[in-house]
């Protein structure tokens, strides 16, 4: 592998920005969670690159935990989205304002 660490970080940063953009601009609950997934993906790439840079398995171990957190977040988040959809009948986050 003849890639500088900076390029891996650049790739991760670009992906993270794409995720932030998706989370902030889309008005659709499913697309918001998708953006969070993209951000976690970018963080995992940065961690694996750092593990290679410092020759330590710590970064790879952290990616394992990121994966578990992502699975939890998606399962609970999607359950909440289905619940909100049944309640309000739309994916628009601004329609979930019925505090009852």
């Amino acid at each position: 592998m003849i890639v500088p660490f900076g390029h891996v970080l650049m790739l991760a940063g670009m992906l993270f920005l794409l995720g932030v953009f998706c989370t902030l601009t889309r008005r659709n609950l499913v697309m918001i969670i998708l953006g969070v997934e993209v951000m976690l993906n970018a963080a995992a790439i940065a961690f694996v690159g750092a593990a290679l840079h410092w020759q330590s398995l710590e970064g790879q171990a952290f990616v394992l935990f990121i994966m578990a957190i992502a699975a939890t977040e998606v399962s609970v988040g999607l359950a909440l989205i289905v619940y909100a959809y049944r309640r309000s009948g739309s994916f628009d986050p601004s329609s979930c304002n019925l505090l009852r």
Binding site: F5, H7, M10, L34, N41, L57, F65, A79, S90
Partner: protein, 167 residues
């Protein structure tokens, strides 16, 4: 160079995914992005993580997304973009942050050195994780159990509300 090819593929498919109007298309494009990430993990010396990434992310999480998107009627989700004067300052700040981050990465000494070769074999990796992080593994498994219970209780509450509405 496989890294740049894969990186370009990941960024392009993610960009396609986050701009799709149809959610099924977005999920399929993101699937390509995650496959590219798995290839990248393999290149960066993490073969076990590459396999887990395909199995858990592409196999489980994205299929969960597909289930939800297909379970629910997805027509007529016409999204409105924010007006220009609302997101223009945010875009400018984001661009500045991007430039500063790129400058920090490029000016830090040591980031231009080519990465050394290292392959954490699945055996080494598993030994490392269970020798140094066994408590975190238990906590994460407990978290997954809590998430399972939470998702089930949310699903149950939904069914009960619907029967109350029908009654």
């Amino acid at each position: 160079m496989i890294f740049y090819l894969t990186g370009g593929l990941i960024v392009a498919s993610t960009a396609m995914a986050i701009t799709r109007r149809h959610m099924v298309h977005a999920v399929i494009y993101l699937l390509f992005s995650f496959f590219g990430t798995a290839i990248l993990f393999y290149l960066l010396g993490a073969p076990l993580l590459a396999a887990l990434w395909v199995i858990i992310y592409a196999g489980a999480i994205m299929v969960l997304f597909l289930f939800v998107v297909m379970m629910i009627r997805t027509d007529a989700t016409e999204e409105v973009m924010f007006p220009l004067n609302q997101w223009l300052p945010a875009a400018i700040f984001g661009a500045i942050y991007m430039a500063v981050g790129a400058a920090v990465v490029l000016m830090t000494p040591g980031t231009e050195v080519a990465l050394p070769l290292m392959a954490g074999s699945p055996r080494e990796f598993a030994l490392y994780v269970f020798q140094n992080h066994w408590l975190s593994i238990e906590i994460v498994s407990l978290l997954l159990l809590v998430a399972l219970v939470g998702a089930m209780s949310l699903g149950r509450g939904k069914g009960r509300d619907r029967t109350e509405d029908e009654a």
